[in-house]
Amino acid sequence: MRKPFLRPLAAVLLLPAALLTACGGESKDKAEAGSGGNTVKVGILHSLSGTMSISEVTVRNSEQLAIDEINAKGGVLGKKIEPVVEDGASDWPTFAQKAQKLIKKDKVATVFGGWTSASRKAMLPVFERNKALLWYPVQYEGLESSPYIFYTGATTNQQIIPALDYFKEKGKKKLFLVGSDYVFPRTANKIIKAYAKANGMQILGEEYTPLGNTEYSTLVNKISQAKPDAVFNTLNGDSNVAFFKQFKGAGFDAAKLPVMSVSIAEEEVKGIGVDNVAGQPVAWNYYETTPGATNAAFVKAFQAKHKGAVTSDPMEAGYNAVHLWAAAVEKAGSTDVEAVKKAAAGLSLETPEGKVTIDGANQHVYKTARIGVIQPDGLIKEVWSSKEPIKPDPYLKSYPWAAGLSS
């Protein structure tokens, strides 16, 4: 996803890591990977330390919960799943190294892991070279489709475009775009501008602020001068806190000017302060409050293990990834990567967010888009949904107005 990082440092560290991972070439002995003896080994690779740990540990926990659930029912192919947990340490080269280790040394059947796009991009060549499988659980900026990655989070047409559909339905025709200055917001805003052009909407302003920026009075002044119907917010992390505090300080609230956010979930609301964001819309595919028996069971099981915890969209996507993999293995009758990939195509499963189906062509999943409104208690209530799961389209090929965006 999109968290800022010590990029120069990472770049320096990347070099030796790339050299190191480039050395493990041979990959002949991986048929029936990970299924030696009475257990099936799978890798879990998230940041358990460093900046990203707070987010990624929650996904590790939900994946562990899914594994426990499957084992309680007898495991896969009659064998118990044995997770091998590694720490990516919020450091992209470490993700690549640990992925290599899980594949070559532990010979795991598959790996569940990653959060930031940077970590996914670091792991991608490792999985492609070793013809091994990664399940990536976080919504991201699209424009990617590796044959060795399954993406169980949303791509742009399952989050950003539905959010725009919602604004269009509500008659919000004049938008102001606010984002952090890096690849995700710029990609997202390209899509938004193309959508606006095709749908008779007006973009009154497009502003980017450096990562970690905390001074928003000028930007708020610009917004109040432009008088938009709504704001589309792709700010990242801490900047959201400063933006919403100063937006509220200048006298704006959800009733006066709605701000659609795509990176604020239940956890972030606490840091911003509910007072500052109550009533504002957000776009995800799952909320803790999403109705349905499957979700009720998921929330209950999770909170039984982790008292007072909230369940978020990426956690649910990680939980789904484990169940989807297990279902694919059962269907294939083997843990072999190619067999699992083949079996996974078109596979459907009832999950906390509703029915999801794997699209064999790009290995993303069909997901229902949901717009939620932040409640005074800090939870998020769904107010709009796409009704049915949306076919994933990471390159936006099925949208005529998006032609030329992915090149």
Partner: protein
């Protein structure tokens, strides 16, 4: 024209924030020559002090926290000076590495104690309104920060120019050896200087909870700006810092208005670099034999 006028008070309030975060640094960096990278983490300590006091003081936590944060951050700074920095006097580049390391340790400590996500500090209810002026609006929180910055400047000025301790501090800064032979306990003055400089960072941290995030990495967001103000204003110069902060605030405000936030940062840096080419010592210079 009207939106342009709005940028005036905004520039002033950005200047006040800059001044507040830089004021403490004029002591530790400006007066003592310690390149104090941990200054940002003392700001963070101030913010978390307000957060901690919230359960006791509720909505008025920000006000109660001002003196407490001064003491907490000051004590942290004092500890840093006693345990580490004093062994590095006269080696400014080594203090850079030392305090950089300390800042990383403090950030991770905050992450372990308070958790990585941001926490919330509720602003007092009487600070939530705004005044309209020049067709725009200025939140009370911003006015409060301006007032606080002004009060801190007056306090620091009075301390340096009207108290015996302040006079000793200036004496040590201007000529350490001469001050020492005149009977000033320079070591004790160093401790006090570091305490006050760090304490002021704590006060800034409390004020910043009104407009910004409260989390383990906030120090890193303010540290560069703080150094910019001190360097542009001239090391250890109070009026230099005031003028530099207001000028940079205005520059930032108008540059961002005409371009965008990223470009405004670039413009500010370019202007400062150009300025330092002309005046490498900053706005004001103090003639002294220190830092030869």
């Amino acid at each position: 024209m009207e939106p342009l006028l709005n940028q005036l008070p905004i520039g002033l309030s950005i200047g006040a924030v800059l001044l507040l975060i830089a004021l403490g640094l004029t002591f530790t960096f400006g007066q003592m020559g310690v390149i104090n990278m941990a200054h940002g983490e003392f700001i963070m300590a101030g913010s978390y002090t307000a957060y901690m006091l919230q359960s006791r003081a509720g909505g008025e936590a920000v006000i109660v926290a001002l003196p407490v944060a001064f003491a907490v951050a000051g004590a942290l700074g004092w500890l840093l000076e006693r345990l580490a920095v004093r062994h590095f006097y006269g080696r400014p580049l080594d203090t850079l590495l030392l305090t950089w390391g300390v800042s990383l340790v403090l950030q991770q400590a905050a992450r372990d104690i308070f958790g990585a996500p941001n926490v919330q500090v509720v602003a007092p209810s009487w600070l939530t309104g705004r005044v309209t002026l020049l067709g725009g609006s200025l939140p009370y929180a911003r006015l409060f920060i301006m007032g606080l910055a002004a009060a801190c400047v007056v306090g620091v000025w009075a301390y340096l120019n009207r108290s015996r301790q302040g006079r000793r501090m200036r004496a040590v800064m201007q000529n350490r050896e001469l001050a020492a032979v005149s009977g000033v306990a320079t070591g004790r003055v160093d401790q006090l200087t570091f305490f006050i400089g760090s304490g002021l960072a704590g006060v800034a941290g409390v004020a910043l909870t009104l407009i910004g995030p409260v989390g383990p990495s906030i120090g890193t967001y303010y540290i560069v700006d703080a150094f910019l103000v001190v360097v542009a204003g001239g090391l250890g110069q109070l009026r230099g810092a005031v003028i530099a902060a207001v000028a940079l605030g205005m520059l930032n405000s108008f540059a961002e208005f005409w371009t965008d936030a990223s470009l405004a940062k670039v413009i500010v840096f370019v202007v400062i670099v150009a300025f330092l080419q002309v005046r490498p010592q900053g706005l004001f210079v103090l003639r002294s034999r220190r830092l030869t």
